[in-house]
C-alpha cells in the first residue's frame, strides 16, 4: 500500500513537471520573442534599444533551462509573474477567477449528477423499455450539442423570446442559472450514457445471477450494482471535469461570468501570456490531482484494479 502511494505521488510529480515544462515552452512556440510580445501587448513601439533593455530586464539572455528553473521555483511559490497588460501580479487575478469558476463548475457538476444518476439507474434497470428509450434519446441529443450552442439557443428562447432571465449573468442565483444549465445539459447527457453502460456491465456480472438464485430482493441487487460502480463512475466524473473546464471558458465568455475562463479569453485577446500560462498551470494541476485521487478511490473501491 505504501509502495503504491509513493508510486502515485512520483507519477503525479512527473506529470506536473512535464505540464509546467510544456506551459513554459508555450511562450516560445508563439511567433516573436517574449520581450517583443510584452512590448507590443503594452503598445510600446519596438525599437532595438528598447527590445534589448527589455530582454535584459526579463532575464531572457540566460540559458533556456535556467530560466525554466527560475520560473518553476516562482510558480511553486504561487508567483505567476506580472501581467503584460497592466503590470499587476497574475496570481490574485487567477485566484479570483478560479473562485467564480469553481462556483459555476461545481453547481453544474452537482446538478448534472443529481439528474443523471437516477435516470441512468432507471434506464439500465428498464433496459429497452419506454423510459430507457426516451432517456437514451435525450442523453444522445444532449451529448451531441456543443455547449456554446445550448447557451446561444437558451439565450434566444428564454431571455429574448420569453424574457425570463437577463442576458448578462450577474453574480447571484438568477445569473447563475443560464450558465449552469448550458454546462449541465451536455454533461448530463454524457454522464447518463457512461453510467448506463457501467450499470449494464455490472448487471451482467455473475454475482447478480448468484444473488437472484438465493432469492435476494431486487433492491439489494441494485445496491450491490451501485456499490460496485462507484469506482468507475468516479473515473468518469474526474475525466468530465476536463471537459467542464473547457466548457466553462466558452460559457463564461458568453455570459460574461467573471471566472478564470473569461480571464483567459480576455488575456488571449490582449496577448497577455503570463495569465494564459498561469491558467494552464492552475487548471492542469487541478485536473491531474483530481484524476489521481479518483484513481486511488477506484482502487480502494475495487482493490483488484491496479493503480
Amino acid at each position: 500500500m505504501i509502495k503504491k502511494a509513493i508510486k502515485k505521488i512520483v507519477s503525479l510529480i512527473v506529470i506536473l513537471m512535464i505540464l509546467s515544462f510544456f506551459v513554459f515552452a508555450l511562450l516560445y512556440i508563439a511567433p516573436g520573442d517574449p520581450a517583443e510580445k510584452r512590448l507590443t501587448s503594452q503598445g510600446v513601439a519596438v525599437t532595438k534599444e528598447v527590445l534589448d533593455a527589455e530582454r535584459e530586464r526579463l532575464g531572457l539572455l540566460k540559458p533556456f533551462l535556467v530560466r525554466y528553473g527560475e520560473w518553476l521555483v516562482r510558480v511553486i511559490r504561487g508567483d505567476f509573474g506580472v501581467s503584460f497588460k497592466d503590470d499587476m501580479p497574475v496570481a490574485p487575478k487567477l485566484w479570483a477567477g478560479l473562485r467564480n469558476t469553481t462556483i459555476l463548475a461545481m453547481t453544474s457538476l452537482i446538478l448534472s449528477l443529481l439528474i443523471s444518476f437516477p435516470l441512468a439507474v432507471l434506464s439500465a434497470i428498464k433496459k429497452n423499455g419506454i423510459a430507457d428509450n426516451i432517456i437514451r434519446l435525450f442523453s444522445f441529443i444532449g451529448n451531441s450539442i456543443p455547449n456554446f450552442l445550448i447557451s446561444v439557443l437558451l439565450m434566444y428562447f428564454l431571455c429574448i423570446k420569453m424574457k425570463l432571465f437577463p442576458v448578462i449573468a450577474s453574480e447571484n442565483l438568477q445569473g447563475l442559472f443560464m450558465p449552469v444549465v448550458s454546462l449541465s445539459i451536455p454533461m448530463t447527457g454524457r454522464f447518463i450514457r457512461q453510467m448506463r453502460t457501467e450499470f449494464l456491465i455490472q448487471l451482467k456480472e455473475d454475482y447478480v445471477v448468484g444473488m437472484w438464485g438465493r432469492g435476494v430482493k431486487g433492491r439489494y441487487i441494485v445496491l450491490n450494482i451501485l456499490r460496485n460502480s462507484i469506482g468507475h463512475i468516479s473515473t468518469v466524473i474526474a475525466l468530465q471535469i476536463g471537459t467542464l473546464m473547457g466548457g466553462s471558458v466558452v460559457i463564461e465568455t458568453i455570459f460574461r461570468w467573471p471566472g478564470i475562463g473569461k480571464l483567459v479569453m480576455d488575456s488571449i485577446t490582449a496577448r497577455d501570456y503570463p495569465v494564459i500560462m498561469g491558467f494552464v498551470i492552475v487548471m492542469g494541476t487541478i485536473y491531474v490531482v483530481i484524476n489521481q485521487v479518483s484513481d486511488i478511490l477506484g482502487h480502494l473501491m475495487d482493490p483488484r484494479t491496479n493503480i
Binding site: G213, G215, D302, R304
Partner: protein, 249 residues
C-alpha cells in the same frame, strides 16, 4: 416411496428459438440425491433454469410443480436452494460475506441464526467462522467460495438443493471434498439434492438415482447402481465405455 417434492411433467422449453428440452418427465423424492448426467448441450442446465423460472428460458409446454403447487422464482432461497457452476459468481466479489449473508436473510424476512450458521460451517469444514465472514470473496479460492455459496443457500433451510455443475470449476481434490461435505449435509439436515454434472464418477459416488440426459431428453432414469452397471440405453452404454475406470466398480 417417499413424498414427491418436485414433479416435472411433459416440460418443453426453447432458448433463442431453438428447442432445448423435449417432454421432460421427472420426479424428485424427499431425501434423495438425484444426479442428472449429460454432456454439455444436453439441456441439463436449461432444466435447472426452467425449474427456477429463469427469464432466458421459455417454457412452451408442461409444468413444474413443487409440493403440489406451481414452482417458481419466489421459492428460490427459501424452499429451493440453488448453487451454480462458477464459484466466484455467487457473491459480489467486493463486499464481505457477512453483509451478503445478511442481505439474503433479510430478503426472506429471516433473523440471523448463528448456531445454524456455525453448524453448516463446521459440516462444510470451514473454520474461523468470524474471520471468514469478514473476508471478501475475491480474497478466497474457488473451493472456499463454492463452500460459502453452499452455506449461503442452506442458511434458509431449503428442502431442495439444486447444484448446477458445482464441482466442474474446481480441481479434483477440492471437488471430492465438496462432494463429501454435501453428503454430510444431507445426513445432518435432511436436504434433498438434485446434482447436475457431466462427471459420471461423481454421480456414481453420491447418487441414489441417476437420470441420463441426451439431446434435451431424459433417455434413462433409475437406481444409480442399475443405470451405471446395467444400462439400457445405447447412449448410456457409450458413456460408460468412455469411462474405463468405472467398469471396475
Amino acid at each position: 416411496m417417499a413424498e414427491c417434492l418436485l414433479d416435472i411433467k411433459k416440460l418443453c422449453t426453447s432458448y433463442d428459438e431453438s428447442m432445448v428440452l423435449k417432454e421432460i418427465d421427472l420426479s424428485v423424492y424427499k431425501g434423495e440425491v438425484l444426479c442428472i448426467v449429460g454432456e454439455s448441450g444436453s439441456g441439463k442446465s436449461t432444466l435447472i433454469k426452467a425449474i427456477c423460472e429463469d427469464k432466458s428460458v421459455r417454457v412452451n409446454e408442461g409444468s413444474v410443480m413443487f409440493k403440489g403447487s406451481h414452482c417458481g422464482h419466489k421459492l428460490l432461497g427459501s424452499s429451493i436452494g440453488l448453487v451454480q457452476q462458477n464459484p466466484e459468481g455467487a457473491f459480489n466479489p467486493l463486499r464481505s460475506f457477512d453483509v451478503q449473508f445478511a442481505e439474503t436473510l433479510k430478503s426472506h424476512k429471516r433473523e440471523p441464526d448463528k448456531e445454524k450458521l456455525a453448524a453448516i460451517f463446521s459440516t462444510l469444514g470451514l473454520k474461523d467462522t468470524d474471520k471468514l465472514l469478514k473476508m471478501r470473496p475475491y480474497e478466497l479460492s474457488g473451493g472456499m467460495n463454492q463452500r460459502m455459496a453452499i452455506a449461503a443457500s442452506l442458511l434458509l433451510n431449503p428442502e431442495l438443493l439444486l447444484c448446477d455443475e458445482i464441482t466442474s470449476a474446481l480441481d479434483v481434490s477440492t471437488a471430492i471434498a465438496v462432494v463429501d461435505e454435501l453428503l454430510r449435509l444431507r445426513r445432518e439436515f435432511g436436504v434433498t439434492i438434485v446434482f447436475v454434472t457431466h462427471n459420471l464418477g461423481i454421480a456414481a459416488n453420491i447418487a441414489d438415482r441417476v437420470a441420463i440426459m441426451y439431446q434435451g431428453k431424459i433417455v434413462e432414469i433409475g437406481d444409480a447402481k442399475d443405470v451405471l452397471t446395467n444400462p439400457k440405453h445405447e447412449y448410456t452404454k457409450g458413456l460408460l465405455r468412455d469411462v474405463p475406470r468405472l467398469k471396475a466398480m
